[in-house]
């Protein structure tokens, strides 16, 4: 090295949009590299679920789990719910795991923060990148639920409302990613284990994945309590768009919750993130 002269760098044009685009290109490279493992991780849970509930159980008990004779098949109920829970899980994990590494192990966040963009934009970039992974996670679930079922147990799905479908998928992904960023910046690594047991599992089980929200009318307290769970709104939104035949929450209600929640959580997460990075 000492005998050679450091060559001058090629001309650079570092503008904030170019830097942002390069950061997204980095995400795309990493996603492409990990695609197979991500694909498998995303699919195992929904595939197992539809396999047991839409194939094994109907074969065993003549549709014990279905909505009753003449009613919708269980896979019709499941499809929107499983897509919604996949979006939420994937988007949250896509932001929380890397963040835990960056904030704690090796403190590599100090290096990421040296990219020539304002620090709050770094938070926005993390939210968008994770939302993208949530969206992909959600899309991957469709074919699994559409094709795995016993005879006569096919889900009855048609897109009744494209705009609602798109808004719910996209805003639902952003909402989950922003929530993940907020939790990731507030929690220390020891508490992340708890997060899965105490937050994500109950959220999925009680997120109107396995039944529509209106069916909870018989358990009124649970119906009201469920309203704190963001997954409920995503599941119900997808139900509205994909399986309009099933009772669902009013459109204004879930749109307000998802879009409003996205704005509030993104704002809060950007603040907590900036506080963690700039000391």
């Amino acid at each position: 090295m000492s005998s050679q002269v450091l060559p001058p760098p090629p001309p650079a044009r570092a503008t904030v949009p170019r830097t942002f685009a390069a950061m997204m290109a980095r995400e795309a490279r990493v996603m492409r590299k990990n695609f197979l493992s991500t694909f498998l991780r995303v699919l195992v849970q929904p595939v197992m679920f539809v396999f047991v509930f839409a194939y094994v159980l109907p074969k065993l008990g003549g549709g014990a789990m279905a909505g009753g004779p003449g009613g919708p098949t269980f896979s019709t109920i499941l499809l929107p719910g499983l897509v919604g829970s996949s979006i939420i899980m994937q988007a949250m994990m896509a932001v929380i795991f890397p963040l835990m590494m960056e904030l704690n192990w090796q403190k590599s966040i100090t290096d990421r923060a040296l990219a020539p963009v304002p620090v709050p934009l770094l938070a926005v970039q993390k939210i968008i990148a994770a939302a993208l992974q949530g969206l992909i996670g959600g899309l991957l679930v469709f074919p699994a639920v559409l094709f795995i079922h016993a005879d006569g147990q096919a889900p009855s799905v048609h897109v009744g409302n494209w705009p609602v479908l798109i808004v719910v998928m996209v805003a639902g992904s952003l909402l989950s990613a922003a929530g993940g960023l907020l939790l990731g910046t507030l929690l220390n690594p020891q508490k992340v284990q708890m997060l899965f047991a105490l937050v994500l599992l109950p959220m999925t089980m009680l997120g109107c994945v396995y039944y529509p929200w209106s069916a909870l009318a018989d358990i009124r307290w649970l119906q009201i309590l469920s309203l704190v769970n963001p997954l409920v709104y995503v599941s119900e939104g997808l139900r509205t768009a994909l399986t309009p035949g099933i009772d669902h929450m009013p459109v204004w209600a879930f749109l307000l919750a998802i879009v409003g929640g996205t704005v509030v959580l993104s704002w809060a997460a950007t603040r907590t993130f900036t506080k963690r990075v700039l000391t």
Binding site: L6, P9, A25, R26, L114, P116, P118, T279
Partner: protein, 322 residues
């Protein structure tokens, strides 16, 4: 006559206090630091761990927000123009902060793209630097499976991708074996010869002596002395420091040594005597002999030739590694 050199880094009364949190009282990490590093200089912040060096570097690289004073890097204000500053600096942190989702080579490539290089230019620049730093073979490696020295060199390459005006290095050789450290010193000297402005922090005296044109000695968040290594030695008396520990209170006669020519100071703490001398020859033997004559034994004796270590000792009255 040439114009006065422009400042790469200048600070005025720069301060950082971390507020009290719970049972922990407020921490005054940096208590008013004035720096002026001209372009092209190799500047070192030298001090023991916890002296405030990393906090200072943090403020200069815009990630730590000052609580007092001001700092400019490349003429830009660290609080008001952080993005512009980030475009003009390269930073090598103490930890391995390479991106573990990418290969070592991809780390360089994407860094170039973050700083505005096109994809092809970034790849070409990465190839060039890896070639120059002898890293081409490790380019496909996981950044955490290559050796510590290689990872550090990749981090230096990464910081150089966009041709920064100022390169900051925080404890670049901490945790590296002596051989790797010497190699890295060669790399840094090469960079300096290329005209690179470098600001380095270190707690290794010999590192500051080996590399830096100018050094600021920092402790407890303040600069104790600054200048070239020779200036520092001159200002501190350029003394050899002889320290002798006795197994009983030292004999009285030792105090009289202070009046002798060539001896600038004699300090006695409990059983320990410290003599600061320009002419050190024979003093150690004399201290042992005086002790023996009074029936006092010597349990430990050291003689430090003039170095930054004796400078630190002279300024603070404390051992460097206390």
């Amino acid at each position: 006559m040439s114009a006065p050199p422009e400042s790469a880094v200048s600070t005025t009364d720069l301060k950082k206090t971390y507020p009290a949190a719970g049972p922990r009282p407020a921490v005054h990490a940096v208590r008013g630091i004035d720096l002026d590093v001209p372009k092209g200089e190799f500047f070192g912040l030298l001090g023991p761990n916890g002296a405030g060096k990393s906090t200072t570097i943090g403020m200069l690289t815009t990630l730590v927000v000052p609580t007092g004073g001001s700092a400019r890097v490349c003429g830009l204000d660290v609080v008001r123009q952080p993005v512009e500053i980030k475009r003009r600096i390269g930073v090598v942190s103490q930890n391995n902060t390479l991106d573990s989702d990418l290969t070592a080579g991809e780390n360089l490539e994407f860094r170039g793209r973050f700083f505005g290089l096109g994809a092809r230019d970034a790849r070409r620049r990465a190839d060039e630097l890896m070639e120059l730093f002898g890293l081409t073979e490790q380019r496909g490696g996981n950044p955490f499976e290559i050796s510590g020295g290689q990872a550090k060199r990749f981090m230096i390459c990464r910081a150089l991708m966009h041709g920064p005006e100022v390169l900051f290095l925080d404890e670049p050789t901490a945790g590296l074996d002596p051989q790797t450290r010497t190699n890295l010193w060669e790399v840094l000297r090469g960079l300096q010869e290329s005209g690179q402005t470098i600001v380095l922090t270190t707690h290794y005296m010999e590192e500051a002596e080996a590399l830096c044109e100018k050094v600021a000695v920092v402790d407890h968040g303040k600069i104790l002395a600054s200048g070239t290594v020779d200036e520092l030695k001159g200002a501190a008396g350029a003394d050899t420091v002889i320290t002798v520990t006795y197994d009983a209170p030292p004999p009285r006669e030792i105090k009289a040594l202070a009046d002798r020519d060539g001896i600038s100071k004699v300090e006695i703490h409990d059983g320990q005597v410290r003599v600061f001398a320009a002419e050190a020859e024979g003093i150690l033997g004399e201290l042992v002999a005086v002790g023996a004559a009074a029936g006092v034994g010597v349990t430990d004796a050291t003689q430090l030739r003039p170095s930054l270590e004796t400078v630190f000792l002279t300024i603070t009255g404390r051992d460097y590694r206390e």
